[in-house]
Structure formats: C-alpha cells, structure tokens
Symmetry: D2
Amino acid sequence: MIRVTIWNENVHDREDDRVKALYPEGLHGAIRDLLKSDDELVITTTTLDAPEHGMPDELLNNTDVLIWWGHVAHEQLPWEIADKVADRVHRGMGFIGLHSAHLSRPFTRLMGTSCSLRWLDDTREHVWCTDPTHPIAKGIPAVFTLEKEEMYGEFFDIPKPDSVVFTGWFSTGNVFRTGCTFSRGHGKVFYFQPGHETNPTFKNEIVGQILRNAVRWAAPQKEIFDEIDCPWETEYIEKKYQK
Amino acid sequence: MIRVTIWNENVHDREDDRVKALYPEGLHGAIRDLLKSDDELVITTTTLDAPEHGMPDELLNNTDVLIWWGHVAHEQLPWEIADKVADRVHRGMGFIGLHSAHLSRPFTRLMGTSCSLRWLDDTREHVWCTDPTHPIAKGIPAVFTLEKEEMYGEFFDIPKPDSVVFTGWFSTGNVFRTGCTFSRGHGKVFYFQPGHETNPTFKNEIVGQILRNAVRWAAPQKEIFDEIDCPWETEYIEKKYQK
Amino acid sequence: MIRVTIWNENVHDREDDRVKALYPEGLHGAIRDLLKSDDELVITTTTLDAPEHGMPDELLNNTDVLIWWGHVAHEQLPWEIADKVADRVHRGMGFIGLHSAHLSRPFTRLMGTSCSLRWLDDTREHVWCTDPTHPIAKGIPAVFTLEKEEMYGEFFDIPKPDSVVFTGWFSTGNVFRTGCTFSRGHGKVFYFQPGHETNPTFKNEIVGQILRNAVRWAAPQKEIFDEIDCPWETEYIEKKYQK
Amino acid sequence: MIRVTIWNENVHDREDDRVKALYPEGLHGAIRDLLKSDDELVITTTTLDAPEHGMPDELLNNTDVLIWWGHVAHEQLPWEIADKVADRVHRGMGFIGLHSAHLSRPFTRLMGTSCSLRWLDDTREHVWCTDPTHPIAKGIPAVFTLEKEEMYGEFFDIPKPDSVVFTGWFSTGNVFRTGCTFSRGHGKVFYFQPGHETNPTFKNEIVGQILRNAVRWAAPQKEIFDEIDCPWETEYIEKKYQK
C-alpha cells in the first residue's frame, strides 16, 4: 500500500470557466482518476483553500508520495510548510512536482536553484524518452505527442538531474528537460513539465502511465525516518573499530 | 583578475587558545595565505562579527568567488543573507564551502538537503583522487594524508554531486565524499571536507593547491547576471520561428 | 519470471583446495544458493569449460540477467562472445559483474575504459551505502563489514557511474566505489567489488540481499529488442510532422 | 602548447562535388581554419588515405587532443588502431568526435554502447545550451541556429554523459543531446553532433568557438601516462599504513 496525497492550488479550477469545463472535479480530481487503476495506491486529495493550507501535519505525516500542482498562488503557502515538506522528503517521502510547480516553494527548496525557465502558451509538444532504462519509462513509447501544451524552455535552472527520463520538443523552437529525477536525502523527486490547466493533459493515458510509474518509483523503499541524522544505527562502527 | 572573498565565522579563532596558537591571523588569514601565490586573485577577508555579519551588499556584489568557513554560529547569519548569497551563485558567483560549512545556511540553501553526516574528532585521513580529469585535481597526487583531521562520514545527505573529485578514508572505519562539485544556475559550487579549526590543514600546501584550483574553476566564466530569468537575450527565438 | 544465468570461470574452484573446501559446488553454486530464496528467478549456471565457453547463443538468447565471475582466464573467452554479450545488454539484458570480473572482456567492452585499479589481498572491508534511495540498497544496512576481503582501491578507471550505491573502506588505507550502476543502451549494469574466491563473501546474507536486489533491478523492463536501432517504432514521427 | 591532430576520413571531400565546392581543402582543412585563431594550438591534419590509415604511432604518440570526422568508411580503420586511440585516451589524451563519428570505431570503443540514433537530412537545428557553467559553453549564446543540418534524434544510445552541454531541436520534431562530455580514464571526450559534409557548419564562427573551447577543455591536465595502472606512484600507501 502506498499513501498518495495530491495537493492542488485549486485557483484556476474555481475561477476559470475553461478549466471548470475541462476538469469539473479540479486538477486534483483528474490526477486522482489517472492513478486509480493502481490498486496499491490509497489516494487523498487536498487543496490550498483547505485548513492549514491543505497540508496539516496529520496529513503530511501519513503521506508516502506527495504530488504537487500550483501556479499563481505559490506565495500563499508559508515557507514553514514548504520546509516541513522538504524535511519529510529528506527522511524518505517521494515528491512529484507537476508543471508550474517548478516555482512552488517545496520544489525550489528541494532544488536549491531559481528553477526559472522560458515559457509561451499554446504549442505542440513531442515528449521523447531519453532514459529508457528508468522505471518511470516502463511501458512508455519512444515518443508521444501533446497537441496543445504550454512551452517550457531551456535554460531550466535546476541542478543536474540524476536522470532526464523525458526531453520535450516544442513547435516554438524550444527544448526542455521535461521529466527529471533527483534524490534528496532518503527521498526521491520527479518533476514532469506537461499539465497546463487549460489543456487536456491530465486526461492523457500515457501521462497517466507516467504518473503511476512515478508514484511507484518515488515510494519510500525503507520506512520514513524520524530523523535524518544517522538514522540507521545507534551503535557507530567508529567505536568498534577505532584505534 | 578574480575577486575572492573569504568569510570566516571567527569564533574559535578568538576564543580557543589552540586555534589562536595555530592560526594567529585567524582561519581566514591562513586561507588567504594559501591563495596568495596566485597573482590573478584579489583577496578580501571578512568575518561574522564585522558589520552586516561580514556580508554587506557592497562586498557580495563585488565578489566572484566566495569561500565560507563556519562551525558553531551558523544560526547567527540571517537567512536573508544566505538567500542573497544563493541568488548570486545562481547568477554566476562561485562558492566554496569548507569543512563544517556543510551546515552553513548558504550551503544548505544551495543543496536543498539536510547536509547531515557522521563525525568524530582526531583521526587520520587519506584523501584519494577519484576524478583525475577534473580541473580541481590538477597537480594533486593520487593520494595524500592528513595525519590529524576530523572524521566526516557517510551517509552524507547531499544531492548527487556532478563530480566526486576526492574521497576520504578515515582511520575510524569511515569513508566520505570529501571533495564534491555542483552547478547551481550559472554558478559553480565546491565543497571540501578537511579544515577543522584545531588541525594544521590550512598550512598544507596540497590543500592550498586544491583551493587555488577550486577558485580558478569556480570563477564565473561569463559576467554575473543581473537576473537569472533568460539572461542571455531579450529577443526570443520563439517569436522568430513560431508558426 | 526472470531468467538468470550465472557464468563462472571455474578455474580456482577446481584447482585450489581452499576454494574447493569453501565452495564445494563452485562459486556459481554459492551464488545460485544466495539467489534461490527469490521464487521469481529461474537460475542456470554455466562455466568457461562448458561447450562454447559456457555461453552458447541458445543460452545467451534466453537470459534476462547475466551474472559474471572471472579472474585468471579472462583471455580464454573469445572477444566475439564478449561482443555478443555486450550487444544483448544494449538490447535490454541486465549484466552483473562480480569482483575480478572488472577485467572480464564483457565488462570492459561495456565500460570503454581500462578498468584498472589497485589491489592487495587479505584486508578488512567496511561497505558503506552511499545511495540509500537506490533499489539495490533496499533492506541493506548503512554499513556492514567483511572481515576478510581483497582490497580493490581507487583510482578505479571506470566511466562515471550512474550511482555509487556502495563505497568500500579497507584497512590498508584505501577506498573504492564498491557497488556501481551503469546504463548501456536498454540494459542495466551493476558492478560489485566483493567476492574473492578464498573468502566466504558468497555465504554472507547481506551480499545475498544485494545480489537479489541487483537481479530484480537489472531485469529488462521491456522486452529484449531484436535490434537496437530505433526499436520502438517503424513509423517515424519525422514523416508525420516534417515540413 | 597543445598538439591537436585532426583526422578526416576524406572520402566525400574527394568524391562529392558539393563537398569539394564547400570545403576545397577538405573538412580537415575547414576544421583547422576554425582552430587557428588560438595561438597555443599546434595543428596537424591527417586522413584515412594516408599511410597507416593516417594514424601512425609516431603521430598518435605526439597528439594531445585528437579530433575525428568519419562517415562512410568507419570499417576501413582496423580495430587495432581504434584500440590504440582508446588506450591513449585512457592515459590522458583528449578526443573530440564530430557528427557521424558517433559510429567511428574509436568513439564506440570509448562508449561501450551501440551509439545508434535516428537521422534524416536537411532540417533546421536550434542548438540550446543546457549547461552554461561548462567551459565548452564559454562565450556561446543561449541558443544559435544552423539553418541546414542533418537531424540526429533520440534515443541516442550513449552512456549517461557527464554533461549535456548542448541540446538540439530539429524542425522534424526531434531532440538530441547535441554536445556531450565524458571522462574515460585520465582523458576527456567531447561529442558534437553538427557537421554534415554538405552543410557549411564548419564555416560557422560559433561552432568554431565551441571547438576551440573543447580543445582547451580536453587537453591533458597532467602528462600523458605510459601506463594506466596506478600511474601516479611507485610507492603504495598500502605498504606504509597496512597493519
């Protein structure tokens, strides 16, 4: 069993008629629907307008993999919560940042960079697999097309990823490291660029397969530790062997 | 010409007789002396007890490579200054963190991890070169020994380095990624583990060569940008080629 | 089901009394025993002195993960077979090289480097986990000790690994990238340093867990392709979208 | 002083009128002209039709950085010479593979993969910088355009590069890791995708700057070793410290 929490900013979802028509249950609802074919996942959704910005300790402390979608209200999340999320990643929780979550506070905290990029709306994107051995690429074709997606272009100011699983081609002439993995402490992080709120990306079955793969990959492989400091032993080898 | 600023916490240097005897001009003075054989470097030293915590905007904005040593007073540096340092790294400044600077605020901001590790004092360290092609390894032997150095041991909670230039062996039975490089935005970061305040590490000529190499390597290769966002052009290729 | 083939040089196993006493069914038998608690694995063993050097096409073409142990007879394997093994890795087969297989022909072919290193017999090794998020580290402690193992020391001339899952400390003063992963084409490669023929390493249950993890990790996640060239489609996206 | 040797297959250059018109002194002559503004370089050109396939020991043993262009006659170079080139790279020589040299024997030996890719002629390419901190990117704009270049597309079967300095966008809908670095032993390798024989790529000044940067970066930073095995000392630390 993997406990997945989907956090959605839920601003466009309530205010923009195009988004309401496309995703009547919100982006979080659409993402949940993409995941539910995996019986091992126990899925909770939450939003910025819920109590404690949708991220009370009780929920965070019972999350194995946290999926994050945000866009226009990043600064409404207190840094204190972003720091709590980052700390839980260091101790083993998986984190999946979607689309404009590149500028969300939890993600930038985990990266240590500005996470800035170029952008332009309404382009065609081809998503190429550039690391076919990665578990997130399992069952995904060598290339697939999103006929309408927001362009995100290089230079994308992120640390060098552990793997660039997908690279995006945009009709505007841009390229992008569209699917990237990182390890942070005992936790795994996946960033995935597609998912603008006015596009049907979260109804795309290939995207669904990528997200299901990513959740499985990001799930903690050991317990989530109480503390990051030397969490595996209380007896140090140093005492036994020191001369 | 490369403008190097050495920031030192300067607490042990004033309070601990052993450190005063070993480094009468402070750790910053000793590090400065290791660098001064490189005529291209214009070196400034500064300390936590100087005005504006030793890091006024005027100084930071005229620094190409910032060297940081801190240990017991990390929390006396306001996060606001750590954020300014990180922002300047993103825009091109080099950053070299020494020894217990692994827990300094600028360094942890740039890493996005807890930067925790194991430690124990007074051990022997062999420093092995594990990336001989790296510019920081230029002229450095395959291995050299520090007869007395503080052990820092794995697991070291840092993001996967771009290069592990040096790996440390300790007589306590520990290993450590002792010299690591990272890129963050347009800036380069080097972390180097040796340099405990009661050891003569900053009188070691091989350490000096490593630091001189690191300063040269970390120096910005373009100007330092005013903003990180798309700093290279005002005309986007997207406008010219978009259909 | 994962079809695992264990290839063993089988020279010491027949000629050295210490090895015969320690591993009466050969190193391949001991490695097989370490794997057999995983019910999903269908295990075959083969040796250099079998027909076609133990690697007939029929066997290779029905192998999902190939484990390789060799030491003193590397040059008795024709390069033609090494090339066939490498080609099957490119098309998706997993490959696990053990101990002195670092100089085996299939492994050096896959690396493209000399794979040279330092060495000395009869030392103590502590094996530290330096990538706890990696699937091969699942269930493995932060450190474990092999009281008697052959020292392999840096500089180890391999390409930069995708992950250094384990780093070894040796009582001789050496360090080593003891467990390393690489991707080659559609295949995954793991190199693991312990396993000298006169040591009881292949009776160690932690080593067993590492090998079982490695087999699972290295198993092909898609089919093994007939050809490496553009194996996923016959219809190119280029024809559809080209202007 | 850096001794650069440019090896060119020189088949199209003699047989194809378009190439003769574009590059009257051969591709090697054009590449030489791009390098000659760097006074530190001592440049030699050589071709497959010269004695000993253009790569006699005397020349190879006096080369610091070897640039390689080949396309239709890869198999005319004996593997023995490819192995000698790879061995010299392991001992410190730089190697720069251009365009269709991705399938050249020295390059595939150094990679250990099939180096296969997709391709189609006559497209537009935008070359984006995706590692602005890399020395090869020094002075290069964030993006530049080659109006006519042969498309090379992912999946490109190479080991994970140390740095993807440039990523290519093609009007056919493809992306490519267009400029990649690797370390192999004590030597550095750069692969650069542009440079089809019928395109004026080797008259492009930005390409010239990239190649000059690459030569400087790939030059050996220590001497070129006689042997790769433990080349730095004759006295082992193991003897001094072993208990």
